[in-house]
């Protein structure tokens, strides 16, 4: 990939907005580094990523969201966190912060319509978020989300933090993707410091990332089936997830592998018998998983629930630049491991599964195929794990900027950071894949019934914590 940084004037900014609106660029992120506002875009045709900076005047910048809706929530978040206003924005309600006063939900008017409000506290033990449904009997007319209940202020806490503290904060953005966040943060920090991790560390990072992907995909496949009240899959996938987590603990001493990826390398080498443990895991998964896939595929009552439910239209997936299984189930052929690509995936062989149906079933199948790919990747990594050091010394390199994207199990994580002269983090921005997936959930429930929403929602499994950060 080529990465370009540029400071632009109004014309440059508006040109980028126009290119976003006509689809020749994909929005990767929009964040503030006061007094500037930064926008990362991807030209999918040639794979170029560009970060443009617009220096605000009177704390204002021209809106992106009016022409390119995926930016609306990002603009609202910038207003909440940095008090920079998007001029001409159509939606100026708060997003991440919840000030006193009534929050105006968008109207849906009609005689037979009624509202159902769900959350932020749910009946099950899940993260908090509010859903406002407008329904006509069982049929959904509109869904509007309200998030921000788990805004932890991670980016604010990172400001002026030393690198080791910021690393820990990044790893806690969304616990289920702690490896992916740690990975992305480390890559960005290494770019800013102009160093590279040793080869062994690079392979170990990918090993952790694939283990995390396996564990989460097992959990998701089971949980989606469980939301259709098919608890048999849930129990069996739960066993596989547990085996994966135990293997992770045996290899790295932590079930979720938190805080193991650090700028410069990894904090801990794989245990002596780690490769054996992982081979046992692979054998067991390869023995059981095909049966579970067949069970999923052959249970007609389950297929009846997942096929044609919650369809995400390919044009929306493309417009929003939806990553992960949400995008790949709707024909968006994007995987951060391949584009922009990062080590060691350039030296490993894997396929990126792609489907176009865009329904719950397609999102399950993408996960199933990714599990198979991850098994192959783990095998390749333990087969070709280089010897050597696992960490390079960090040296102060003065001020610098870093940018990285990694593929978490639910989609691409973007990290941008700027170090000050003392090597402390001046500003860091973490963007979860969920930012561009949550809005698609609102479109996916169109024409569905109220009772099918939990199934659609689970098939997205967007992060509340990662989004609210």
């Amino acid at each position: 990939m080529t990465l370009s940084h540029e400071t632009v004037n109004v014309d440059g900014w508006l040109e980028a907005v126009d290119r976003l609106a006509n689809g020749s660029l994909t929005l990767l992120g929009l964040w503030a580094d006061p007094p500037g506002v930064k926008m990362a875009t991807l030209d999918e045709a040639i794979g170029d990523i560009s970060i443009i900076t617009y220096i605000t005047r009177h704390n204002q910048y021209p809106t992106v969201g009016v022409k390119h809706p995926p930016a609306i929530r990002l603009e609202r978040a910038i207003r909440d966190l940095h008090k920079l206003d998007a001029i001409g924005a159509s939606d100026t309600r708060p997003w991440l912060k919840h000030p006193d006063g009534v929050y105006e939900f968008l109207a849906a008017e009609g005689e037979a319509l009624h509202q159902i409000s769900v959350g932020p506290v749910h009946a099950g033990i899940i993260e908090p978020g509010h859903f406002r449904f407008t329904a006509n009997g069982e049929f959904l007319v509109r869904l509007e989300q309200r998030l921000g209940y788990v805004h932890k202020g991670i980016e604010a806490m990172m400001a002026d933090a030393p690198l080791d503290k910021a690393t820990k904060l990044a790893a806690r953005t969304s616990g289920d993707s702690t490896v992916a966040y740690g990975f992305a943060f480390a890559l960005a920090a290494e770019m800013a410091l102009k160093i590279a991790a040793p080869p062994r560390a690079i392979y170990l990072r990918a090993l952790m990332a694939e283990l995390e992907r396996l564990a989460n995909h097992f959990g998701d496949i089971g949980a989606i089936c469980n939301d259709a009240s098919f608890s048999l899959m849930h129990a069996q996938c739960g066993i596989l997830r547990e085996l994966t987590l135990r293997a992770a603990e045996a290899c790295f001493g932590h079930r979720l592998m938190m805080d193991l990826i650090v700028p410069g390398g990894v904090a801990r080498d794989i245990a002596g018998d780690g490769a054996t443990q992982l081979r046992t895991l692979l054998t067991e998964v390869r023995r059981v998983f095909p049966h579970l896939t067949a069970l999923y595929d052959n249970t007609a009552s389950l297929q009846d629930r997942t096929v044609t439910t919650g369809i995400v239209k390919p044009e929306y997936a493309r417009q929003f630049g939806a990553g992960g299984y949400v995008g790949r189930a709707s024909g968006r052929d994007f995987d951060a491991r391949r584009q922009p690509g990062y080590a060691p995936y350039d030296r490993l062989t894997f396929d990126v599964p792609l489907l176009t149906a865009g329904d719950v079933n397609a999102r399950v199948w993408i996960r199933i195929r990714e599990v198979e790919q991850s098994l192959g990747l783990i095998e390749q990594i333990i087969g070709s794990l280089p010897d050597g050091a696992i960490e390079t010394e960090l040296q102060a390199a003065g001020a610098g900027e870093g940018f990285a994207m990694t593929e978490a199990f639910r989609g691409d994580v973007l990290v941008w950071l700027r170090l000050d002269d003392n090597g402390r983090v001046a500003r860091c921005h973490l963007r979860d894949a969920s930012w561009f997936q949550w809005p698609l959930l609102e479109t996916a429930v169109e024409g569905n019934i109220v009772a099918d929403f939990p199934l659609c929602n689970k098939s997205f499994n967007c992060s509340y914590a990662g989004h609210d950060a």
Partner: protein
């Protein structure tokens, strides 16, 4: 003396169903857990849950009316009465003349009517959703149930459960297509009426998919205990009904002797265990259906029962 004995037996029947109902629920849960390779809660867990709920305070919505507070008692009483009327271990009990299948359906229907009212009483959106779904399901299940009653009554010549059970136990009944169809239809209705998978999921935490649970979401404390006990009784009732109509073996005749009664109780518990295990297996291998598939599912029950009635009219030997 005979009156006292009859009275004692009727009392024993009422106590038996009340005590066994949570056990059946616990048993089904246990079998399901074992099928999923889990240990599952102990068999007696439902009793503990009920005790815990009984001791807890009741939390009432500010705008809940008196109806909301009365309905749990009403629902429980109606379900208990209905469950006590189905012959379990002995036929010809003191009140068996009231054990008319149509009457039982009517009692259960009123209980449901009031529960649906209670669901809407507090004015929450979930209660409303639950009540509307419950009424949709029952409006389809009740006609099917009545058709089933007609078939069996036509064959047995009575709607009196004791008489029906005695007839089904006799050699006269033989192998009949219409009875087979009625059994399938009754099973479908029983699954829908008891909010089991694939119509509803009694174990779900997803508010938006609930039917029965959404309706009773606002209940707490002893009110919830009564409603849960009523739900357990209803499951026991339907299982007993299927057992008494389609597997009436072992039910003690109306004689005064301890051994047949002992055999009757043992046979009854055995039947509950078999049917409970079958329910657990069925619930494990199937996913819940979309809400709008439920009419097709229950429509199948109605059609089967209708077909059984027609067959019965075409020829007496069906």
């Amino acid at each position: 003396m005979a009156v006292i004995y009859d009275f004692a037996l009727q009392g024993a029947q009422m106590l038996l169903v009340l005590l066994l109902a949570p056990l059946l629920t616990g048993f089904v849960r246990k079998v399901k857990a074992r099928l999923l390779s889990r240990k599952g809660p102990p068999l007696l867990q439902p009793y503990r849950d009920l005790l815990r709920l009984m001791r807890k305070d009741v939390v009432l919505a500010d705008n809940a009316s008196w109806l909301f507070r009365v309905i749990p008692y009403l629902v429980f009483a109606a379900t208990w009465v209905a469950a006590s009327l189905v012959p379990t271990f002995r036929s010809g009990l003191m009140f068996s003349w009231t054990a008319d299948l149509i009457a039982i359906i009517a009692v259960l229907g009123s209980a449901r009517f009031f529960l649906a009212l209670a669901g809407m009483d507090a004015g929450t959106s979930f209660g409303g959703i639950g009540s509307s779904r419950e009424v949709m399901i029952s409006s389809l299940a009740e006609p099917a149930m009545l058709m089933i009653v007609f078939v069996i009554a036509l064959i047995a010549g009575s709607t009196q459960l004791s008489t029906m059970a005695a007839f089904m136990n006799s050699a006269e009944v033989g192998l009949r297509v219409s009875l087979g169809l009625a059994l399938i239809a009754l099973t479908i209705v029983a699954i829908a009426e008891n909010a089991r998978i694939p119509v509803d999921n009694p174990a779900t935490h997803l508010e938006l998919t609930m039917v029965h649970e959404a309706m009773v979401l606002e209940y707490s404390g002893r009110h919830l205990a009564l409603i849960e006990l009523a739900a357990a009784l209803k499951l026991l009732l339907y299982v007993s009904l299927i057992a008494c109509l389609f597997a009436p073996w072992g039910i003690a005749p109306a004689v005064v002797a301890p051994i047949p009664i002992f055999i009757g109780v043992a046979a009854y518990i055995g039947k509950l265990a078999v049917l409970g295990a079958l329910l657990a297996v069925f619930e494990t291998v199937i996913a819940k259906m979309r809400v709008f598939r439920v009419p097709e599912f229950l429509g199948a029950a109605l059609m089967l029962a209708l077909l059984a009635t027609l067959l019965r009219f075409v020829s007496g030997s069906f």
